[in-house]
C-alpha cells in the first residue's frame, strides 16, 4: 500500500516506527534474554538478591571463574539425557512429516479433483476434527492403548500425531491442488495415464511449494507437541518438550531450572533457523486457507 497520493506526516511516521520497535522488543526480547541467561548460573539468572546479577554475572564469576558458562548445556545434554530426548524428537518428526505428506497429498488430490457432494462434507468433517482439543482425544486413546499394550512407544505416538495433523494438512494441500489447473491431469488421463500416474508424474512435480509448506507445518506440529507426547510416551521415550517440563520439577522432586533454560534454547534454536530459512513458505501456508476463502 504505497500510494503516490498518500502522504504520511512526519509525526505519523515517527509514531509508526516507534510502535514497530516496541512491538519487536516485546516479541523478541524474551528469547534474547533467555539465550543470554542460559550461559549464567542459576543464582544469577534467577537471582533472589538483585536482578542485575543476570547481567553482571556476579555468581557466575564466583562459581565458574568466567563471565559465561556452558555448564547448564553440558549437564542437560549428558546427565539430563537431553540427547535422548532430541534423538526421539528427530525420529518422531521425520516419520510424522513423511507419513503426513504421503497420506495428505493422496487425500487432498482426490478431494480437489472430485466433483461429488461427499468431498465437501469430508472437508467440513476435517474442519470439525481440526477443532477438537488434543487433550480430549488423548483421554480417548489412553485406555485402549493400555489395554492393547501399545502405550509408551514411539510408533504409536507417530501414528497419532500423523492422524491429528491430517485435517490441517488436507485443507492446506487441498487449496494448493486447487491452484493447479485441471487440464494438466486431464490431458494426461486422455493420453492413457492412470489417475495415480497423472498424480505421480504430472501433478506432484509442480506441487513442490505446497508440499514444502505442508511439510513445514507437520514438522512444527510434531516438534512442538506437548499434550500427546507427554501423555502417550513413557519416561524413556520422551521427546524434547515433555523433557523440558520434567526438568521444571514437581512437588515431589526438585527440578533443575538451568537445565530447563538451556534445553529451551537448544530446542528453540533449530526451529528459529528453519523458519528464517523458510519464512516465505510459512507465511504462504498461513494465508492460503484464509485469503482464498
Amino acid at each position: 500500500m504505497e500510494y503516490g497520493l498518500d502522504k504520511r506526516s512526519n509525526a505519523l511516521k515517527t509514531f509508526n516506527t516507534t510502535f514497530i520497535i516496541i512491538w519487536l522488543l516485546i516479541a523478541c526480547f524474551p528469547f534474547i534474554w533467555t539465550f543470554w541467561g542460559s550461559f549464567k548460573v542459576r543464582a544469577d539468572f534467577f537471582s533472589r538478591a538483585d536482578w542485575w546479577y543476570a547481567i553482571s554475572a556476579f555468581n557466575t564469576l564466583i562459581e565458574t571463574g568466567g563471565q559465561f558458562t556452558s555448564n547448564a548445556y553440558s549437564e542437560a545434554w549428558t546427565e539430563g539425557e537431553f540427547w535422548k530426548a532430541s534423538r526421539n524428537t528427530i525420529i518422531v518428526t521425520v516419520f510424522v512429516v513423511t507419513i503426513s505428506l504421503f497420506l495428505g497429498t493422496l487425500g487432498a488430490y482426490a478431494l480437489s479433483r472430485s466433483t461429488e457432494r461427499y468431498a465437501f462434507w469430508i472437508l467440513i468433517a476435517a474442519l470439525i476434527f481440526r477443532a477438537m482439543p488434543h487433550i480430549t482425544l488423548v483421554s480417548g486413546y489412553l485406555f485402549p492403548f493400555f489395554e492393547l499394550q501399545i502405550w509408551g512407544i514411539l510408533p504409536t505416538t507417530i501414528v497419532v500425531l500423523v492422524a491429528i495433523n491430517q485435517p490441517f494438512t488436507l485443507w492446506l494441500l487441498y487449496s494448493f491442488f486447487k491452484t493447479v489447473p485441471k487440464e494438466l491431469d486431464e490431458s494426461a488421463l486422455i493420453d492413457g495415464c492412470s489417475y495415480f500416474q497423472a498424480f505421480r508424474y504430472i501433478i506432484m512435480p509442480v506441487m513442490w511449494p505446497g508440499v514444502i509448506t505442508a511439510g513445514l507445518f507437520s514438522l512444527m506440529l510434531a516438534y512442538n507437541d506437548f499434550t500427546v507426547t507427554a501423555l502417550l510416551l513413557n519416561q524413556e521415550n520422551h521427546t524434547m518438550v515433555p523433557k523440558i517440563q520434567s526438568y521444571l520439577g514437581t512437588n515431589q522432586h526438585e527440578g533443575n531450572l538451568m537445565w530447563a533454560v538451556s534445553a529451551v534454547v537448544s530446542a528453540t534454536a533449530p526451529l528459529f533457523m528453519l523458519v528464517m530459512f523458510f519464512q516465505r513458505q510459512v507465511i504462504s501456508g498461513l494465508t492460503t486457507g484464509a485469503v482464498k476463502g
Partner: protein, 342 residues
C-alpha cells in the same frame, strides 16, 4: 474423479482420521459412562492377649482381580456428569437454597472445579480473541507502511512468539515475570512491595496468562491480515484520498470491508485455539489459581494413584460440546450457503 479411484486415494488418510480422531471421540463417550472401581475392603480380626480388634483394610488382591476383570470400571451412567467435580447438580441446588444473594450463589458455584475451569476458559477466550485481532491488525497496518527492503527481518521477528510451542513461550515469559526474574524484580522495586509476585494473586495470574495469550496468538492474526492487506485494490483508496477521506475513514470504510471475510476466519481459528488453553497453565505453574477445561482433563489423566478415565472422559465430552456450540454458527452458515449453491 470416479468414486472408486477417489476411495483408494482417500483411504489412507480417511482411515487415519477415523481410527485416531473419530474412534477416540466414541471411546471417550463410552468411558464417560464408567467410573473406576471402589476398593474392596475386608475385615481383619486381630487377636492379642488383651482381646480381639476388628479393623478394616483394603483387600489389594480382590481389588486388582476386579480391575483386571473389568478394566473399564463399573457402569456409572450419567453419574460422573452430575457429580461434584463436573456439573455438580446437587451442590448447585443446595447453594441455591442456602445463599441469600445472587452474588453469593455465583461465588459458591464458581468455586466448584468444573465451573471454575469453565469461567477461566471463557474469560481467556473473551479477552484474548478480540485483543489478538486488534493487535494483529495494528501490527499489519504498521508494518505495511515500512519500507519494503527491511520488512523481511521485521516479519521474522514478529512471528517468533507464534512458532515456539506454548509451553516454551510461556516458560520464557514466566522466567522474566516471576519474582526472581528481570521484570518481576523491577516491578517489586517500582511498586515498593517485596512480596508482590505472580503466584500470590489470582487476578495477576489471570492477567499474565491473558497477556501471554495475546503475545502468542497476535503474530498469526498479523500474518493473515498482512497478506490480506496486499490484496486491497488501490483505486478506491486513491479515490477516497482525492475525495478528502481521512486515514481513519479509509481504513474503516474501504480496507476493513475488504478484509472482513479474513477477520471472521482469524476470529474463528483463534477462538478454537483459545478454548483449548492448557500449556500456559503448566508453563506459568498457575494450577493454583487458574484452571482450564483442558487442564482438568490433563490433571485426571496424570493422577498418581488411579487414572480417572471416567472423570477425564466426562470433562472431555463437555469440552467437545462447548466446541460444537462455538462452531455451530459457522457450520450452519456453510450449510445454508451450500444449499443455496445447489
Amino acid at each position: 474423479m470416479p468414486n472408486k479411484t477417489f476411495f483408494w486415494f482417500f483411504l489412507p488418510t480417511g482411515l487415519a482420521m477415523i481410527l485416531f480422531i473419530g474412534l477416540p471421540i466414541i471411546s471417550t463417550g463410552i468411558q464417560s459412562f464408567y467410573a473406576q472401581h471402589d476398593q474392596v475392603v475386608k475385615e481383619v480380626k486381630k487377636c492379642d492377649p488383651f482381646g480381639c480388634t476388628v479393623s478394616i483394610v483394603v483387600d489389594q488382591e480382590a481389588t486388582s482381580v476386579i480391575r483386571d476383570e473389568r478394566p473399564l470400571g463399573k457402569f456409572n451412567g450419567l453419574g460422573t456428569y452430575v457429580d461434584r467435580n463436573h456439573l455438580a447438580i446437587e451442590q448447585i441446588s443446595e447453594f441455591w437454597d442456602e445463599t441469600d444473594t445472587f452474588g453469593d450463589f455465583i461465588d459458591q458455584v464458581t468455586n466448584l472445579p468444573f465451573y471454575k475451569a469453565l469461567l477461566f476458559t471463557l474469560t481467556y477466550c473473551l479477552f484474548v480473541t478480540p485483543n489478538v485481532l486488534l493487535l494483529g491488525f495494528i501490527i499489519a497496518l504498521s508494518l505495511n507502511a515500512i519500507s519494503r527492503k527491511i520488512r523481511g527481518p521485521l516479519i521474522f521477528g514478529t512471528i517468533l512468539p507464534m512458532i515456539v510451542t506454548p509451553l516454551v513461550g510461556s516458560l520464557v515469559l514466566f522466567w522474566m515475570i516471576d519474582a526472581e526474574g528481570i521484570i518481576g524484580a523491577n516491578l517489586q522495586l517500582i511498586m515498593e512491595d517485596p512480596y508482590l509476585s505472580l503466584k500470590s494473586s489470582r487476578t495477576l495470574t489471570w492477567i499474565t496468562i491473558i497477556i501471554y495469550g495475546v503475545w502468542h496468538h497476535s503474530p498469526f492474526a498479523f500474518v493473515v491480515f498482512y497478506a490480506a492487506l496486499q490484496t486491497v485494490p488501490q483505486e478506491p483508496v486513491e479515490a477516497a484520498i482525492i475525495d478528502g477521506a481521512s486515514r481513519y475513514q479509509r481504513i474503516r470504510h474501504i480496507v476493513l470491508p475488504h478484509i472482513y471475510p479474513v477477520v471472521t476466519f482469524v476470529a474463528l481459528i483463534s477462538l478454537m485455539d483459545n478454548f483449548r488453553v492448557f500449556e500456559p497453565i503448566i508453563g506459568f505453574s498457575a494450577e493454583g489459581s487458574a484452571q482450564s477445561l483442558s487442564w482438568l482433563i490433563y490433571d485426571n489423566l496424570v493422577n498418581e494413584e488411579v487414572i480417572l478415565f471416567g472423570s477425564a472422559a466426562a470433562t472431555s465430552m463437555m469440552t467437545i460440546i462447548g466446541i460444537a456450540i462455538l462452531l455451530a454458527p459457522v457450520l450452519i452458515r456453510t450449510w445454508k450457503e451450500f444449499r443455496t449453491a445447489r
